[in-house]
Amino acid sequence: MTASDAGAAASGSATPASADAPGPPPRPKRGVPEGLWKKCDGCGATIYRKEAEELLNVCPQCGFHWYVSAAERISQLLDPGTFEECDSDLRPADPLGFRDKKPYAERLVAEQKRTGLSDAALTGTGMIRARRVACGVTDSAFIMGSMGSVVGERLTRLVERATDQKLPLIIISASGGGARMHEGIISLMQMAKVSAALARYSRAGGLFISVLTNPTMGGVAASFASLGDLCFAEPRALIGFAGPRTIKATIRVELPKGFQTSEFLLEHGFVDRIVARKDLKSEIARAIDYCGGAI
């Protein structure tokens, strides 16, 4: 699965961005329609695209949960027409003047054009089965869903809004890239910023449901994604701190089967429930009801 490249990376909070692939890669991009059929990343079967889409982008053969864009995720989860996006006017900057093989500023423009997103997070308010919530989603298509200043700021404002308006908070993570390298130390500080906002929200009694999807790695896993009062994970997602390749390079042994999957995290006690995509909406609504609805 592509996610394992994603996870390959650093013993740090920044995990890899595959976004450095020059130009449009020859391999088909997840979630981008390229024909009637698509190959499953889980079982390798060739699947009729329309059938998979009816199943919310889940493989009918093996149940593998494919990529869904942030916008798609919102439409799957929230009641139709209830989403009101917040802070859409925020735009990434290039505080370091960062360049690797190509300048970050150019990379941003290319990613924005390719994905139609201004950055890797979409935030706002809406209803889940008539329960009003604050909801944020990260999108792994935009520089691996990595967190720079815009992702950090949008999420922090979302948490603060949820605190002020006494709303349950849902954040769905799809970030293989962790903290975004291209914004350097400022990206790292976003981890502290969002976590501090969540600490305030928690003290105010707010309910935070964190949903981990494929992939959730590095500095995203090591900040808000792990701070839910409840932590749900989609089946077979790659979730962890260090990327599998980094770990392999460090300890020089084969990694156990199923390492860093949702099921692995459940077994080790870090996930409350594994929830299939089709059940996510009803499971979230039920959890909100158990926890008293709003704060």
């Binding site: 701070l227 701190f241 006690g269």
Partner: protein, 321 residues
């Protein structure tokens, strides 16, 4: 003066002069030699200033990782009047890569937390070269809660290449504990002072890095990812580590410019490893002054100001609709 067991290539000209000084000092001296010695010593100081005043980003990383650089355990002895080590996370184990304990500083009783790299090879291996496991962060959190209960200010000394990447670390929740530790520190009702003394490696550093004041030693670095890791991902080869180090803007002056650190503590000419006592004394001065200022503040306003400090971090544009 340190005897320089480990010499970096960039230190070569410095040690050459120093060897000449040592030779001159060993030989019987007349007036002419005395004058020569005086000039050489002056030259040495000037050269140290020049070399260490102009370290490039990768050289800074080398200095921050210098094997002779003072470690947390050195500062425990040189900065504090007493250190009473407290072990264990009361859950899984006692991570030697994370030192915690009571200490005395000035007129304060404090709790000190610090990454530990170890000195000898055996120690370094036992400490996983300063890479803490989840039990290390759990230990730190447990002691922070203790400090909060009894009103002890917390001092964190950061020196890690990063949190340990391994199977056990993942099984025991490396991501979880770093997140929880930041969450805890964000509202801990006692003063917190953090100082990056060597390597500020990513989440492993930030896991004990959320404080009222964050300072860094002049030649330490603090980064979102190691230069090797960044080079491997973006340049596809760790050989580009120097390019990555430059691009990441990880040096103390950069961090001060970004507002990520509140203070840069100058190192002695030639780096902290050349004059550890002098470095310790400067660190102590900073800590004493900062603690005196922080303990005067009401706890609520301290915690609010801590929130605002991190809340401000971020650089972005707001498009006009």
């Amino acid at each position: 003066m340190a005897h320089g067991l480990h010499r970096l290539p960039l230190e070569k000209p410095i040690y050459e002069i120093e060897d000449r000084i040592i030779a001159l000092e060993a030989a019987p001296v007349g007036g002419q030699e005395q004058e020569k010695l005086r000039l050489l010593k002056r030259e040495l100081v000037e050269l140290q200033r020049k070399v260490f005043g102009n370290l490039d980003p990768w050289q800074t990383v080398e200095v921050a990782r210098h094997p002779d650089r003072p470690k947390t355990s050195d500062y425990l002895h040189m900065v504090f009047d007493e250190f009473v080590e407290l072990h264990g996370d009361k859950s899984f184990g006692d991570d030697p890569a994370m030192l915690t304990g009571f200490a005395k500083l000035d007129r304060h009783k404090v709790l000190v937390i610090g990454h530990q790299k170890g000195k000898t090879l055996a120690e370094r291996q036992a400490c996983h070269f300063g890479c803490a496991h989840p039990e290390g962060y759990r230990k730190a959190m447990g002691k922070m809660r203790l400090a909060a209960k009894y009103g002890l200010p917390v001092i964190c000394l950061i020196d890690t290449p990063g949190a340990y990447p391994g199977v056990g670390a993942e099984e025991r929740g490396q991501a979880q504990v770093i997140a929880e530790s930041m969450f805890l520190m964000a509202s801990l009702p006692v003063p917190i002072v953090c100082v990056v003394i060597g390597e500020g490696g990513s989440g492993g550093a930030l896991g004990i890095g959320v404080g009222d004041r964050v300072a860094i030693l002049e030649h330490a670095y603090y980064s979102v990812i190691s230069p090797e890791g960044c080079a491997g991902i973006l340049w596809k080869s760790a050989e580009y580590k120097a390019d990555a180090a430059r691009a990441l803007r990880m040096r103390s002056r950069d961090l001060a410019e970004f507002g990520v650190v509140d203070a840069v503590i100058d190192e002695p000419a030639g780096g902290a490893h050349r004059e550890p006592r002098q470095m310790a004394s400067r660190l102590k001065t900073y800590l004493v002054r900062t603690l005196r200022e922080l303990v005067e503040k009401p706890v609520e306003s301290l915690v609010d100001a801590r929130y605002e400090k991190f809340r401000r971090m971020g650089v972005f544009a707001e498009a006009t609709a």
